[in-house]
């Protein structure tokens, strides 16, 4: 049985999840920076850490999808 199509659907779902997550982080970071421009560098660092963690989970899914 060929699971290629299911793998593609899985990769797509992972992309949706990561997109929502990173979108939320980015949006909140923008709001925070607008309120406190002097804390920009700190907010950016934390934003990148959080985005990297979410991206890591999404990439787990992509690797699983690649391996089928």
């Amino acid at each position: 049985m060929d699971f290629g199509a299911f793998a593609a659907i899985g990769a797509g779902l992972a992309a949706i999840g990561a997109g929502i997550g990173i979108g939320n982080i980015g949006g909140s970071a923008m709001e925070a920076i607008a309120r406190q421009p002097e804390a920009t560098s700190k907010i950016q660092t934390n934003m990148i850490i959080a985005a990297a963690l979410i991206e890591g989970v999404a990439l787990f899914a992509v690797v699983v999808a690649l391996m089928k």
């Binding site: 560098s41 660092t45 990148i48 990297a52 991206e55 890591g56 990439l59 787990f60 690797v63």
Partner: protein, 363 residues
């Protein structure tokens, strides 16, 4: 600096002369001269995986003979009879396990960039239904492959650049000049913005060498991987595994007793220990595991996207797709330059964060 430049130009000339020698060599005749069906998955996998030569392009001359232009690399095998070395051009670009190379009374074939040693009497490689070779064994392969070559190149680059920067800093204590003026702001940024906030002011000195090295190693190899026909070193899971194991070892060997107490005696009711302790122990390993997967998957995904966009031209067999494809590839390439820096930054940042969590004082 001039000397370095001269050395670089010299090595490029040497490499190019190798390429020409290779191109002059006759390629094996491709027995199906018909239009081959373009297989994008095969092409992409070939590009992102390791190989025994730097393959630049193929061309077909008037006689219909296919030539490949590539830079051969040495193959070093450890067989029962000892060490065997030869250049990868001995295989004449045969990758199907049919062209036999005899060295020291042993016969070798190359199949999908893996070297097999044929048993006596065998003339080509055969597989059973589980894809195990029937008439050959795999010798221990310590060849200088594309990835190994690229790693050595990056090490030479790092040593020469940072050696020059170090000498310049020692000789001239004033404002930085030359290559130091380029490298010093990056090193200072890593120390001030990555290491000190995460590891802590008091103990950060011990970890600067590792974290700065890992940053520049990943950054340089990401950039070397973006050069067309270069090696995809940071997109190789073995390389990222070793890098993340370094972080794992440094984190756990420098951890203080609070870190271990948090793992084996977490501040939860005693009844939860059977669940919490295994989770915390797995947690030690998942952090570097995520580091490994993140770097591998990011770099590999970038390469796959660029190659897929290029493949579109050949899938649709139309020249009108080309401008769209090339435009998108240009965009992706620029994005990949950002990702090359960002992934080096993230790896260093998270390594510093993990080390900082392990050594922070209890409060």
């Amino acid at each position: 600096m001039k000397k370095l430049l001269r050395e670089v130009i010299f090595s490029i000339v040497v490499l190019l002369s190798c390429v020409n020698a290779k191109a002059a060599e006759k390629e094996h005749n491709n027995n199906n001269n018909n239009e081959e069906e373009f297989n994008s998955v095969e092409m992409i996998m070939h590009h992102i995986s390791d190989a025994h030569d730097f393959h630049f392009f193929d061309y077909t001359d008037e006689a219909g003979v296919k030539h490949a232009v590539s830079l051969p690399l040495p193959i070093i095998l450890f067989t029962d009879n000892g060490l065997t070395c030869f250049m990868s051009c001995a295989f004449h670009h045969n990758d199907d396990g049919t062209y036999v190379v005899s060295k020291n009374g042993e016969n070798f074939v190359k199949y999908h960039e893996k070297i097999y040693q044929l048993n006596e009497g065998a003339s080509s490689l055969e597989f059973d239904e589980h894809h195990h070779p029937l008439n050959a064994v795999k010798p221990i392969d310590i060849s200088i492959t594309k990835n190994v070559f690229s790693m050595l190149l990056s090490v030479v680059l790092l040593l020469s650049l940072f050696g020059a920067a170090g000498r310049s800093a020692r000789k001239n204590p004033g404002a930085p000049k030359g290559i130091l003026a380029f490298l010093e702001p990056i090193v200072v940024f890593i120390r001030e913005d990555i290491i000190i906030p995460n590891v802590g002011e008091k103990k950060h000195k011990k970890y600067i060498p590792y974290l700065v090295t890992v940053f520049f190693f990943i950054f340089f190899n990401n950039l070397l991987g973006l050069i067309p026909s270069g090696a995809n070193l940071t997109g190789n899971i073995a390389v990222t595994l070793v890098l993340s194991v370094f972080t794992l070892l440094i984190t756990n060997f420098s951890a203080n007793k609070d870190y271990w107490k948090h793992i084996f005696l977490p501040p939860v009711p005693k009844a939860l220990y059977p669940i919490m302790v295994p989770i915390e122990i797995i947690g030690i390993l998942t952090k570097p595991f995520a580091l490994m997967i993140r770097l591998f998957a990011n770099i590999t995904a970038g390469h796959i996207i660029i190659l897929s966009l290029i493949s579109l031209i050949f899938v649709f067999k139309s020249i009108f797709i080309a401008p769209v494809s090339v435009g998108f590839v240009l965009f992706m390439y620029t994005l990949e330059l950002l990702v090359a820096l960002l992934q080096a930054y993230i790896f260093t940042l998270l390594s510093a964060l993990f080390i900082g969590q392990a050594i922070q004082e209890h409060h």
